[in-house]
Amino acid sequence: MFDKVEAFYRPANVREALRLLQSGKGQARVVAGGTDVVVDGDDSVRFLIDITHAGLSYIRRRGTASVIGATTTMAELEASPQIQSLAGGLLCKAAHSCGSMPIRNLATLGGNMANGSPAADMATPLLVLDAAVVMADAKGRRRLPLAEYLGNARSNRYARSLVVEIVIPDPPRGKGCRWSFQKLGRTAVDISLVNVSAGLHLDSRGRVKWVRIALGSVAPAPMRAPGAEQRMTGRILDQALLAEIGAEVAREVSPISDARASAEYRREICSVLTRRALEECSAPAGCSL
């Protein structure tokens, strides 16, 4: 593996990293935690560019948003008081589910997005939080909605770009706001068969004011469930509505069968986990995140 690698670079900033990526002419690979790069074991790689020294490990506030640098690890996210207090700790719970401790000490948020896996566990909570991705390439920086980025992450559209940071606008907060992350994996430290994130804001009369539902590992990229969200808005969340929404998400997803699970099973699990997520969000004691 990696026998053809001629050079290992440790650029000290984004500009240098981009220059190296450009001059690698498609044979360079960005490495952050390396947990996907190494397992992929792409034999054609000739240059490795380690971006963990490029100044992208940070968790900050900027205006009314939280900003997370691309090379921030899952372990750092879990331990951050700022992330613990954002959306009831939704991102901490998701980061905590990303493999074992030795994996979470390496795995980065940017790598999780850039790898473009439909099962990436950080994608659904970030979709629920209306996150955006800041990209950098030779022409400069630009910001795009996470859903748009994820839809193209596996194409080579961003091959000469870096994910710089993830921006999370402050979500609705207050008594009626609840959050949930649900994941079903083979073991506690495995990637998801299906994962579901939800955010729910109920008004004082218990009607749905705002809702987000996102599902992972059930379509080519992690996705929102707009049909289900629309059906819920303005209604009281009771058992009948839960059943209706469970059925609706099962219609909206397009899972495949693979070594981990069949498409039919995944579709069923979408309903179950979505109901569980909404139940957790609407439980009187609140979200137990």
């Binding site: 026998d3 190494v38 401790m101 030795p102």
Partner: protein, 178 residues
């Protein structure tokens, strides 16, 4: 992996790092993994298992944190402190975690043991008084095909209370000296 297709084609680079307190300077291939380099240098306590991050047999501490050395490029260890199982005992005296693994029969073939001990040590350094859940959580990335998980969990909890008792025994003294 190293040199099997002719060393002449392989570019090399320098790696400066500290392993078990010893400052070292190695020549590596830029695409080599930390696991391969450590084993080539004789740290055979770092086990080669799945090579996919699943089993934890290759775990070492880098700057005090457990990582899977099969997933880290050796070049990423530049300037960092690596602790392998060979460096856990000090002057021939076993670490309380190692003693507890022996006392509790948590070792059979021993293949998973270095990784488990390394992760357990990192946990106890960070949280001297962990709950059983925290111990299970810390060992979750380590597969054992012989002993199972009950004995290792017991051993880590026992090591924690032993370290605590030791600390308690010296506590009055430190209080007096303040």
């Amino acid at each position: 992996m190293f040199g099997s297709r002719g060393v002449f084609a392989m570019k090399t680079m320098e790696l400066h790092l500290t392993v078990n307190g010893q400052s070292l300077n190695w020549s590596i291939a830029p695409g080599e993994l930390l696991l391969d380099v450590l084993r080539r240098q004789g740290y055979f306590g770092v086990k080669r298992g799945c090579e996919k991050g699943e089993c934890g047999a290759c775990a070492v501490l880098v700057d005090g944190k457990p990582i899977n050395s099969c997933l880290m490029f050796a070049a990423q260890a530049e300037g960092r402190h690596v602790l392998t199982i060979e460096g856990v005992a000090i002057d021939g005296k076993l670490d309380p975690v190692q003693e507890a693994f022996l006392d509790h029969g948590a070792v059979q073939c021993g293949f998973c043991t270095p990784g488990m001990v390394i992760s357990a040590k990192a946990l106890l350094d960070r949280r001297p008084d962990p709950t059983e859940d925290e111990v299970r959580e810390a060992l979750a990335g380590h597969l054992c095909r012989c002993t199972g998980y009950l004995k290792p969990v017991e051993a880590v909890l026992a090591a924690a209370s032993k370290r605590k008792n030791r600390a308690r025994r010296v506590k009055p003294l430190t209080e007096v000296s303040r």
